[in-house]
Structures are given as C-alpha cells and as structure tokens.
C-alpha cells in the first residue's frame, strides 16, 4: 500500500510499485482524464503533470513519483483555482475554456495530453510564441504529442487563447 497525491487528494493505492501510473489512475482510482495511446511514451495521449512537469503515465511506475502531486485534465480546474487563491474549483482551467472557445478537438483522444502539455508550457512561459508552442508539443518531451486528426492548427489557436485567458486571470 502506498499513497499518492492525485488532483489535490491523498489517495491510497494497492497496486505494486512497478505498475504504470496510467493503470493505477484509471483502474484503481477511477481518474479517467488520462488515456491509453501507445504504452511506449511515443504519442502523449497519457500525459499528466507530475508537480510542474509533464510525464507519460504509460511508462511512469508509481514508484517513480517521489511524492510529487499528479494532475490530470480532471484536476485542472482545481489546479487553476488554487493558483488563483480560490478555495473551490468553480471554473474551468483557461486551457479547457480555450479548447471549448476555439472548438479545438476533432475526435479529441489526444487532447488530454495536449492540454496537459500546454498547461505546463503556459505556467512556465505565459506569453509563448508560435515557435514556443510548436516546440513544446514536438521536441520538449520524450516524443512529439501526436494528433492523427490533424487538429494542430486549432491547438495553436487554442494555446494562444489560453495564454490570454490566463493573463486576464479569467475562465468560465
């Protein structure tokens, strides 16, 4: 039995320490805002934030978490609320709001990882250029974040809108 912090909550976990975080989140903790894509850290569909850093849940055993908190898309509103000093997560995270405003997804399965990666980027770089966004989603992690539908143009627009919403401190 170990304890991990997921979306602001301490969670007890029975899974063996070598179990990838992906399966623990989905099957043991019922946190579904993380998706199986390749199991090989090649696509980014399973990305979560570990502390402030994007990692691939499909290849990260829970023994490697080192006590750092895990944030999935489900926990983005909470993360935003606590960053704004609010108690409750009443609003969406600006990245989620921007993804709705810009109608970013096609099928949407890759967008869980895309939103996590863009959140990581914007927390470190509030006014990214096109180039910064492209690099974040292509070369900064263990692999590019892949979208088969080809929603990259919408993602670029979504990321810029999210940056604006974050600067304004606004969301839904």
């Amino acid at each position: 039995m170990s304890t991990i912090v997921v979306n602001g909550q301490q969670r007890k976990v029975k899974a063996s320490p070598d179990t990838p975080l992906l399966y623990v989140l989905r099957n043991e903790l019922g946190v579904m805002g993380v998706k199986f894509g390749c199991g090989l850290a090649q696509c980014g569909a399973c990305s979560v934030l570990l502390g402030d850093e994007e990692v691939r849940a499909c290849v990260t055993p829970i023994s490697a978490l080192e006590g750092k908190p895990v944030t999935t898309v489900d926990g983005l509103p909470q993360r935003w609320a606590s960053q704004k000093g609010k108690m409750s997560a009443g609003t969406l995270h600006p990245v989620q709001q921007a993804w709705i405003d810009e109608q970013v997804p096609q099928c949407g399965i890759c967008q869980f990882g895309m939103m996590i990666k863009v959140t990581e980027l914007l927390e470190a770089n509030p006014k990214p250029t096109d180039q910064d966004i492209r690099e974040a989603l292509t070369t900064s992690g263990p692999s590019p974040h892949l979208c088969r539908c080809g929603s990259y143009a919408a993602i670029l627009e979504g990321a810029h809108r999210a940056a604006k919403l974050m600067m304004q401190g606004e969301s839904a």
Partner: protein, 793 residues
Amino acid sequence: MIRSPSKSEAKIIYDINVHGARLMGVSRRGFLTAGGTLAAVFAMGGRSAVARVNASKANLHAHSAATVNGWIEILSDNTVLLRTGKCDFGQSTIYTAYRQIVAEELCVPLEAMTEVVSGDTDRTPDGGGTFGLLRYGQNLRKVAALMREASLELAARRLAVPRANLSVREGVISGATKAISYGELLAGEDLHLVIPISGDLTMPMGLRVDADPPLKPVKDYTIIGKPVFNPSIAPKVTGKTVWVGDVTLPGMLHARTIHPATLGSTLIAPGKLDGKQFPGARLVRIGNLLAVVSPDEWEAVQAAQSVADGCEWSKWEGLPPSERLEDHLRMMATEDPTPVRDGRANKGNASSVKTTRELRASYLMPYHKHAPISPMVSLADYREDGSVWLHTHSQNPQHLRRMIALMLGSDEDKVVVRTYPGAGHYGRSNGGSAGSEDEAVLLSRELRRPVRVQWMRSDDMQWSTQSPAMISDIRIALDDAGRMAAYVASHIGPGMQDDRLVGALLAGMPVIPAPSPATTYGFQSTVLNMSDTWVYGTVPAVLEQAKGGAHPGQHEATDVVGLRSHSMRTPIQFQQNCPREIAISEAAMLAGKDPLQFRLDHVSDPRFVAILERLRTEAKWEDRPSPSPQAKSHGSDPVKGQGVSIMLRDNGYWACAAQVTVIPASGEVKVERMTIVADVGIVINPLQLRRQIQAGCLMGVSQALHEELSFDKGAVTAKDWTGYPILTMAEMPELKVVITDNPTVGIYGQGSESANALASPAIAAAVMDATGKPIRRIPLKPEYVRAAIKLHA
C-alpha cells in the same frame, strides 16, 4: 380523420396520409394532463406499415431498432430528440449539422434540439455506415420535413384553418389569427408518423427514406449556415465524457490478445503462463485466437507479453514484401480474374490519339494505416441467455451486430451494440469492425464474464486493415497548341474493403464472404471502381480504367488473414486523384504552361473556374510555367516550388496550392504553406467545416510526407509510431482555408473527406517545380526524393 368506434368521444384515431407517410395514433386529450409526442417511426414500403409497427412495439424483449421510436421525436415540452444510427468520429456532424438540418426543416429554434442519441443498435434507427453523412443525411432532412408537414395537417384540424393558410416559424404554427406551438399541438397525443423506407437495417448501407416531402426552400434558411458550437466538446475537455475505453462492468476481466507471428500463421504451441509470476492471469485459446485475461490490467499486459515470447507459430510467407509491391500489383493486373471497370467520363478513342508530345508515366501510391491515436478497445458481455452486449466504437454498429450474430450462429435480436466516443479511425469501421470487438465477444462467451479487449499499439498497426496501394499508368497526349488531346489512365490495386472479423477468422468461426469478383455482399468485392470524378471536360478523348484484385495473401488458404484492405478517408479517390493530378502538373510542365492556368484551360465547370481563380489570389500563386526559373536538382541550398491540385467529390469542388522548400542534396521537403479553396455547396456550419478542412489538410500533409506501410513476406513490420510516423506539430505549414458558400447549387457541403487527398499531389507538384524532376511516388521521404532526382538526372 375517422371517428373511433370506442365509447369515448374524446378518443380519436388518426390515419392521415402525409406525402407518402402515414400519421397514425390516438388522441387522449382530456384524459391525460401531461406528456404527448409525435415520433417518426419507419416501415418497409409496400408492406403493412401498421402491422409492422404494432408487431415491433409488442415485441418488447427483442433488442431491435424496430422497437425504437425512430429518427425524430417532438415532445410536448417543445423539445426535439434526434436519433441516428450514425456515430460521431470527431467531425461533429451528428451534433452540429444534423441538429441544424432538422431544426431548419421543423422550423424550431436550434436550442429545441436538446438530445442526440447515436449509434446504439437497440436505441437508434437507420443503420448504415458513418460516411457521406450529409448525403445520407437526407434521411433526417426528409423525416423532419415529413414531421413538419404532419404537424401542419394536425394543426389545420385543430385550429380549423385550411392547411394552405398555415405556416410554421420558431416552433409555432400560425395562420388566420390563430397560433399553436408544437408542444401545445401534441399535448395528450400519442402519434406516430409511419415513414416508408427501403434497404436492410443490418446491411452495410442501412435504411433509406422512401418519401419525397416538400423541403424548406434554401432562401428561407435561418439556422443552416450558422457557426454552431459542437456540444460534445465541452464534456470531452472537462473529462466528463465516457469514452469507449472507460466503460466497465462488474466482474470484468482485462484481456490482451496474442496475435500470430504472421498474417497467415497457425498456432503450434502457446507459450507458458507462469502462474507464480502472474497468479491472477489465465490463458485462453480458441483455435488460433490466443489471449491472456486477468482482473488486473497491468498483469494482463505483462503476462501476455511473457506468453507471446514463448509461442510457437507456423511459418507463413504469403505476402510480397513492401519493396516488391509494384511487381506484385503488376502480377495481380495480369493474373487476378477481377474484371476491369471503366470510368464514366470515357469518350473518344483516347488510345489511338497520336501526337508528337506526350507524357507516359507510372505512379505508385503506398499502403496507408488509419492509425488511430488510441488502439481499438471493446467490452463484451455474453450472458447466460445467449444475448450479447457489446460496448465499442464503430462507424456501423448495425452491421457489426449482424456479423457478431453470424459468428455466434445466433439471432440478430440477441446482439446489442452500444457505441461510445473513441479515437478517430477515418473509415476503418464503416463496415462495422475496426478490431477487438469480436475477440471480446468470443472471450466473454468462453469465460462467461464481461471481457474488455484492449489492443496494444502493435496489434493496431499489425492486425487492423489498411488502405490499399495502387499503381497507375497514365498517358497524356498534347496537341500542337499544348492542350491535352487525350488522357489515358489505368489504375491497378487490391479491392478496397474486407470487413471480415479478424478474431473470428483466427478462431475459425463463421464470417461474411471473403472479397471476390462475384460477391454482392456489402463492400466485399475485389472490383475496383473508377472513383475519381473526371473534371477536365474540354479534353476530347478520355479513357480511365480500374483493375482490382484480391488483397495480398488472401488466396493462400482459407484460414489466412492476409493484408486486408479497408477504405480510409476519401477512399479510392485518394489513390486515383493523386496520380492524375501529379500527371496533369507534369503535362503542364511538358507544355510549358503555368499548371494552374493549364487546369483553367481544361476544366469545363464554372465552379472550378471560380475556385481556381480564387486560389490564384489566396495562395499568392506565381503566374509562370513550371519548373521554377530557380529550380535546382543538386546542392544543399534550399529551392522553392509551388504546386496545385483539384478534386470533385460529393458535389464539392476543391482546389489546393502547396508552397514548399526542398534541399536537393538531401531530398528534404518542408511544406511552407497550404491553401485550400472549397466550394462545397450549402455550408451548414462554417465553423465546424473550417476545422474539418484544416485538420483534413494536415492529415493530407502527413500522408504526403511520411506515410507508407512496411511489411515483409509474412507480416506488417511497422509496430508503433517509429515504424509508421505521422506529421508532428513542428512540421505544420502555414494554413489558409477559404470556404465559398454557394447556396445556389442546393446541395449540402461535406468537409470530412477530400481535404486530406489534396495535399499529396499539390506537394509532389511543388517538389517537381522546385527541382525540375518528376516525382511519381509518395510519400516524399528524403530517400524517395533523392532517388527521383537521381533517376531523372
């Protein structure tokens, strides 16, 4: 309207003919204080509609679509429920365009369209594959028009105003100073509009409405053309959507299938399952279908890998390796019995046109994978009573239901398929199956527990179907003025679709007929149609032919799977349009003409003239012959080029320009800018259409630059994203999409296809423009570009 023989004066049975449909039902106004509906149900034309509806409604235990209340239901609270057997694959059409079309025909506000139920065989009608949504969407448009007309008939009686004096607007029917809302009209009513249909619910094409009601004039549209948001996006990005992989059932086991070593191997001996290392896991074998199950998913993953490493499979070498693909297709052209199909635009005696200048060239299109970002996953629950509930992501759940029933030897009414959002797979399941569904059912039946089969990345790359290759021989003869005098094309490739269930094949269970020249079942034909619509109407002589055949490995033995084909986004037309458009650009080069102007000189349809002229401006096209005056085929300095392509599909007119940079020495191609101009007719939702076209265009750039399936003599050798790379965001070109709304043509525009097929020929032409060398093979990988330059040095 006839008086009921019942004692109650208030009970009235309606039976009104409405443009070929029958409005039937019972009024209980005065008895009921709440509720009331008008629902569209359906009945086969020429049979007793009443008997059929009553029979299906009585048969409550049959999980059949015949028991559902049809396409559209208007409720007494003025809301409208929409049901469709089609599914959403990310295009959003069923949540946006379909709601807009129905609201428009019913003349209700869009907000009244509160619910869309889709793709569940026990809850939705019509069936058929999810493709050509707006073409086959005419079903819903017609049903909505019939519902409106039926409501007007009812209102005429209720308000005692002649039908001709009534009109409907914003959900209110009015005329001669009287008015009534749909809700008021239907309160206390239990009405069905019985709509004549033809077709077969569980066959690949599904049902079709056989009525022609008056449709709302395009000039009166108020909802079609609006940039309506897709309501399925907010729940997806907030994590509230239940995706196919998220569905669980009590007692569920996780399974991983261990697929054979090759596409034709049989199992000699399974690997050992180490019970000490994997205490919760169990090995299941059904013929050549082998799987490991466990209540713990991670244990199933590890145990399956361990067993797979120890499996012994028979050797099979029934495929031509991918580097011998061209030879195989040439052999197929002469040896396969599948007949040649002629193009519809063939005219004149193209083969005998003799000129002094002509292009003769062959073009090779590779195998492509649909390559969904998440591999397929399905959950099956085989129950003691022999019924099966299958939870999956399918573009054609009704035909999947039929194939599952066939596999099990059971009645179709024993099978229910429920669908959920999943990773887009662009046509792979438009015949029902994308992989994993049948395996889940067989394992659940074997174990009498719900079983969830999650394919791994390698299963999806190696065991799913693929979009087939094509080789095209093209001859273009130019006259003395440099105009096309004749166009001759011969396209050779395997048939486009094999919907047989792969798990059933491995398990030795019954499946639908294998593709052949003779079969008339669904899309299971080896015949290759001429699918690329001819657009150069001024060319005097045209001969287009298509020669199909069996897929590689198919004829080796009955239990061999082989390299199965399946249609993929813009199927067949992708493979035929790309060589045609590259050849047209080469012919322009031969004629010394600007390739955009060369197209303008040969098209006959004013819609093409309009979009090509628009493209010239929007793309900042350089009006000049190709190759570029700066073209170079050597050196490490970047050279620039431009290329153009056009396509006519589903009455949509498309033009595309690509601007690229090429490093001749390395063969590296960078796509700098893509411009698409589309005249698709009536634009239902400009916002969603733009997103579809942008995304489709980038998928096309991916296909142009990277995509090619590799295989050896036995198996697909691409196992993951390193073996089948796709476009990354860093490679995204500048993108410009121009949509020209053209309501005068009266046809709804489609955007989910075509856009992906335009990039390859435009980019190839741009590389030719930059280097001055013919490019006759995609993808434009550096090694192929280098080889093309060397070949024509």
